[in-house]
């Protein structure tokens, strides 16, 4: 175990990003403590993204960002999730699957979208085979812009999303 920590410490390029991260992260952690009693579980749904958003979401849980230490984790089933994190412009083929995933979540629940495609179709706007944005299918409370959003942006956006969340 010590070995991997040593490797991580030696390899991670320190810089502004990492320092900001600790600041944003600790705020996120406090916020999650308050509103979710310790942990916020997300279910990720790809509705036809190019895969870059997924790559960055996975990056956010690597040891450099380590999103899990702030109380956020990704779960394998919508039944275990507090919120959905949705990427992609929603292809016609994914429309029903997205709706059903949302319906399978226990309430209270909310939806965050990530990446330009998920807002309104992004570069795929006007295509014959997309719904053009997640909010056309299910209610969305927060959007994270970017193509793809960087891991640090994801952490910051999660903080803003949780902060703005009202009890319903």
């Amino acid at each position: 175990m010590n070995n991997i920590i040593n490797i991580a410490n030696a390899r991670i390029q320190k810089g502004i990003v990492t320092e900001n991260l600790d600041l944003i992260g600790s705020k996120l952690k406090t916020e999650i403590q308050k509103k979710f009693a310790r942990s916020l579980f997300l279910r990720e749904v790809d509705t036809g993204s190019c895969g870059a958003c997924e790559s960055e979401i996975i990056s956010a849980i690597n040891p450099v960002y380590d999103l899990q230490r702030f109380g956020v984790d990704f779960v394998a089933s919508p039944r275990h999730a507090d919120a959905l994190l949705v990427t992609g412009p929603v292809s016609l083929n994914m429309s029903l699957a997205l709706k059903r995933t949302y319906e399978a979540m226990p309430s209270p629940k909310f939806v965050i979208t990530a990446g330009d495609c998920a807002l309104d179709g992004g570069p795929f706007k006007g295509s014959y085979y997309i719904e053009g944005g997640v909010s056309k299918i299910i209610p969305v409370v927060f959007h994270i812009p970017g193509c793809p959003p960087k891991p640090i942006d994801l952490v910051l956006a999660l903080l803003l999303a949780v902060k703005n969340l009202k009890r319903s």
Partner: protein, 526 residues
């Protein structure tokens, strides 16, 4: 075999006139008719020993009343792309299917049928590929020029029928399209008896966004940016293949420095993805310690990408006739520094993985893709090479790689371990090639390429991305707008490899089989 010998052989065996051949750079177009199309395709398939590499239609009804079909093979020895071209009149949409004889043509013919409404007569499988029956009504063909979007989609009342494997104790496990991990959408239907998988049917198309249609009407510059959104983890390779196609179509020369920078970009993309997948294979057999190390290496390369191109996935760094990643000596120093750190970590990672008995036990002889299967389905790239196929576009069309110590990496067993080895060895080659190329960049001369002038024409661009060949064929119209853009990502045909390699394996080993290939959902679905 020399090109001339090939040409003579084809002319003799088909009885074609020499005028049927049209040559343009590394592309050869052979004009056929509906009678001899099938025969010529079969002949090329056999003498070039090439699968169908790209095969697509184009709507020319407005200008000449026909749909034009192009079926392309790769001549490795003659270093040419060879196309058979046939016109299909708009009042009789049938054409002789070649998929009954050439398996690798099958998905292409299904695609042509659903996108253009052309009918491959005699094809063993004419089901739709991406436009799912549940949501898309009959009679709408998106890639026809006169296509109008149907007023109502979704809830057509139809549904897809999976192959039913019957017998005592056989049960089905449906997975997806929403997967448990953070990954693209697709549906896998396993039929299992006891523990071993006896059949796996893939249903894809969930990430279909109508990309080829969206290219139409865009300027080359707009299309360049758009090409980076086809498959996000191969953004650079897609954008490069697109610009090569445009450069070929418009006859634009590319400077040496640009070629070097492009090769560096392509290899950087290979490095971060290979390392990502090696980590993925480790985590899929619950070896998280090593996957954590891999993710740090990946993060460092992504940060290097950002320093060089202002984007972690190298988006926006490539243009028609242009590419500048290593702009000065400082960025070269930075590049070499990060890569030498990566090399140390990769060696360590390899050491950790190969000295773990339980890990080796998991990957050895798991998910074997046999050479013959790979050959028949037209499996290309890393997946094919791990099964012993010798195909790498960097070898067929070396270009700038000629000035490096590039070597083709192959495996023989076709199992997960073989693919892991190919990845590690390709990483070593990529690191070496980048180091060699970065020393050849000329910083002294100001090499500002002027904005290229795009003229009308057609061209093909192909690169060996980290998964395998990415091929773009573009037709540019009079005003410099894209009229047709055909994209073939290696994932398109390669997905079939996955359903073949899992037979006899257990479902818990499926993730590691899947990750050892790591095909692109979005690149295959377009």
């Amino acid at each position: 075999m020399k090109y001339l010998e090939f040409k003579i052989a084809v002319l003799e065996r088909t009885g074609l006139d020499e005028r049927a051949f049209r040559e343009s750079g590394s592309e050869i177009y052979i004009a056929a008719n509906l009678e001899n199309f099938h025969g010529i395709c079969l002949l090329l398939h056999s003498i070039l020993s090439s699968p169908v590499m790209l095969y697509f239609a184009e709507d020319n009804v407005k200008t000449s009343g026909v749909y034009t079909l192009r079926c392309g093979f790769l001549g490795k020895k003659i270093q040419r792309w060879v196309f058979v071209v046939v016109d299909i009149p708009k009042d009789n949409l049938n054409f002789p299917a070649i998929s009954k004889d050439i398996v690798s043509a099958q998905l292409f013919e299904r695609e042509i049928k659903e996108m253009f409404g052309l009918i491959p007569a005699g094809s063993p499988d004419v089901r739709r590929l991406r436009l799912h029956d549940e949501v898309w009504p009959d009679g709408y063909f998106p890639l026809r020029k006169e296509f109008v979007k149907p007023e109502k989609t979704n809830n057509t009342g139809k549904y897809y029928v999976f192959d039913r494997i019957e017998g005592e104790g056989v049960f089905e496990v449906p997975v997806g399209p929403v997967h448990a991990g953070i990954i693209g959408p697709g549906h896998f239907r396993f039929s299992v008896a006891g523990e071993p998988i006896i059949n796996l049917e893939l249903r894809l198309g969930f990430a279909h966004r109508g990309a080829e249609k969206l290219f139409e009407g865009k300027s080359a510059k707009e299309a360049q940016i758009f090409s980076e959104c086809i498959s996000g983890d191969a953004a650079f390779a897609h954008s490069l293949a697109f610009s090569l196609a445009v450069e070929q179509a418009a006859g634009i020369d590319v400077k040496e420095n640009v070629k070097i920078n492009r090769a560096i970009g392509l290899e950087l993309e290979r490095i971060y993805n290979h390392i990502n997948d090696i980590g993925g294979m480790a985590i899929d057999v619950a070896f998280s310690y090593s996957s954590t190390l891999a993710s740090i290496v990946k993060e460092n390369i992504l940060r290097l990408n950002e320093k060089l191109s202002k984007h972690r996935y190298l988006k926006g760094s490539n243009g028609v006739g242009q590419c500048a990643l290593i702009k000065d000596k400082e960025s070269r120093v930075c590049l070499l520094e990060v890569l030498s750190g990566a090399k140390t970590d990769i060696d360590l990672l390899k050491n950790i993985l190969f000295s773990s008995v339980s890990f080796m036990d998991k990957v050895d002889t798991t998910g074997t893709l046999h050479r013959k299967t790979a050959e028949d389905f037209g499996v290309t790239g890393l997946a094919g090479r791990a099964s012993g196929l010798e195909l790498d576009l960097r070898r067929v069309f070396p270009g700038i790689y000629e000035k490096t110590s590039f070597e083709i990496i192959r495996g023989d067993k076709g199992d997960v371990l073989s693919r892991l080895n190919v990845r590690f060895n390709e990483l070593a080659v990529a690191l070496r090639v980048i180091t060699e190329l970065s020393g050849q960049i000329n910083f002294s001369g100001k090499e500002d390429s002027p904005e290229a002038i795009i003229i009308s024409g057609t061209g093909l661009g192909a690169v060996e991305g980290w998964r395998g060949p990415i091929i773009y064929w573009v037709k540019i119209g009079k005003e410099g707008k894209i009229e047709r853009c055909k994209i073939v990502d290696a994932s398109f045909n390669n997905w079939q490899a996955l359903s073949c390699c899992v037979h006899g394996n257990i479902i818990p080993d499926f993730p590691v089989c899947n990750k050892s290939f790591d095909f692109s959902y979005s690149g295959g679905d377009l």
